[in-house]
């Protein structure tokens, strides 16, 4: 290989970026006999070393902690801006209506739930925890405890209890889901009310918004 070709590979050679062992052998063989290529190799090595050794760190005007504070401040500002996009007046109204509807429904719902809980708990007290024991001949069997007026078509006592267990389980899951939804909605409405009061959050037209941002950045610098 000619010197020129070899030389362009020397950067990669210094960095250990030549993957084919054949090429490496070729370069090394050439370097043995060629002074000018060895010089080029040395200067590549030297520059790499100088750059690694020297602190080529340019100083910022801002201290690292201020730069970090600026970044995190901007992250928070944009986060809350994203949230605000949702909390327009129309959404607030929808939220309030939904809250009212849910409130009304849940009064009846929770009352029902309490009733169902009590009934099932009474059965649970009377029962062993494991289902296999239900078949124990000493346990009440057949229509022993089923009120004839219930009209649910439970053929055995076991069916009856299991159905109630299932119902209560579902109600409890629903209850926790609904409670969460209610909480979220309350928070949502509270937040959007705060937002509309705070003058900080006024929407500005696109261009002047950028300007304000730059200006505040400059102010911080001073």
């Amino acid at each position: 290989m000619k010197c020129e070709k070899i030389q362009t590979l020397l950067g990669a050679y210094v960095d250990g970026e030549i993957r084919t062992s054949g090429t490496v052998t070729l370069i090394e063989a050439h370097l043995e006999s060629c002074t000018s290529c060895r010089e080029v190799l040395n200067s590549q090595k030297e520059i790499k070393k100088i750059l690694a050794d020297t602190q080529i760190l340019y100083e910022t005007f801002l201290s690292p902690s201020i730069l970090k504070a600026r970044v995190m401040g901007e992250v928070r500002a944009r986060k809350s801006k994203k949230q605000r996009i949702v909390s327009r007046p129309a959404f607030v109204i929808v939220g309030l209506v939904a809250l009212l509807a849910i409130g009304i429904t849940s009064v009846g719902f929770f009352a029902n739930l309490q009733l169902e809980k009590k009934r099932t708990q009474a059965f649970l007290k009377a029962l062993p925890e494991r289902a296999e024991e239900m078949d124990n001949p000493l346990m009440p069997q057949g229509d022993y405890l089923i009120p004839t007026s219930s009209g649910n078509g439970d053929s055995t006592f076991l069916d009856f209890v299991q159905r109630h267990h299932q119902m209560t389980r579902e109600l409890l899951i629903l209850e926790s889901d609904w409670a969460k939804t209610l909480e979220n909605l309350q928070e949502f409405v509270a937040n959007s009310e705060n937002d509309s009061k705070a003058p900080l959050f006024k929407e500005l037209p696109e261009k002047s918004k950028d300007k304000t941002k730059e200006e505040t950045n400059k102010d911080k610098r001073r």
Binding site: D15, S43, A52, I56, T60, F61, P64, V71, S176
Partner: protein, 208 residues
């Protein structure tokens, strides 16, 4: 009893990320991706100087470089969900910085020293080279920094990434979006030019 358990149970969140073979920094990336600001703050601490360095070396305007650094990091936070491989966070971050710098240069309205490669290198050549007595007083680091400024933007870019950040050629190729062969020759010629500048303009006597 059984009933209560099933109603209250809360889905478990996998927190034992270390077990998946992730390093400390990668765990921070995962946490930041799920919106954890404290974790992201730590990443900012690790990378703000590096990003500033990389950006400033190409823009040569501190204020702009600070603003760009801020913007790059904020952008990273809101786009972390697009990062597919956690382990590539560093090169991903640098590629955001690189795109940003390129965008700015394309817009060209900003008064940047290196708007036009050829022209700008010549311009800076004149202004960056100091009288002899001043040069003598300069520390070696300062001299090398000044010499770096005389390289073309592409040359600065590859040397910052390769020799200062210690990245591999394939990472650099990804960040700068050029083929591996181009990265290889750019690095070679950048070092060669830097050596020439150090010798000719700064009378640097190295072990060449």
């Amino acid at each position: 009893m059984m009933m209560e358990r099933s109603a209250i149970s809360v889905p478990m969140v996998g927190l034992e990320l270390e077990k998946e073979g992730l390093g400390e920094e990668e765990v921070l990336v995962v946490r930041a991706r799920s919106g954890d600001e404290i974790a992201f703050g730590e990443l900012v601490e690790i990378y703000q100087k590096k990003i500033f360095n990389f950006v400033y070396s190409r823009l040569q305007n501190r204020e702009t470089a600070e603003d760009v650094t801020q913007e790059v990091l904020v952008k990273a936070f809101f786009n972390l969900n697009r990062l597919r491989e956690i382990k590539k966070f560093k090169s991903w971050l640098f590629s955001i910085a690189n795109n940003h710098v390129r965008d700015l240069r394309r817009k060209a309205k900003l008064k940047m020293v290196d708007n036009d490669e050829e022209l700008s290198s010549r311009e800076t050549y004149v202004s960056a080279v100091m009288p002899d007595d001043v040069v003598l007083e300069e520390s070696r680091a300062h001299m090398i920094r000044r010499a770096m400024m005389l390289l073309s933007p592409e040359q600065k870019e590859v040397l910052m990434l390769c020799d200062i950040e210690g990245m591999s050629y394939s990472e650099i190729a990804e960040i700068t979006r050029v083929p591996l062969g181009t990265v290889q020759s750019r690095i070679f010629y950048a070092r060669k030019r830097l050596k020439d500048i150090l010798v000719k303009e700064f009378n640097y006597r190295g072990d060449w």
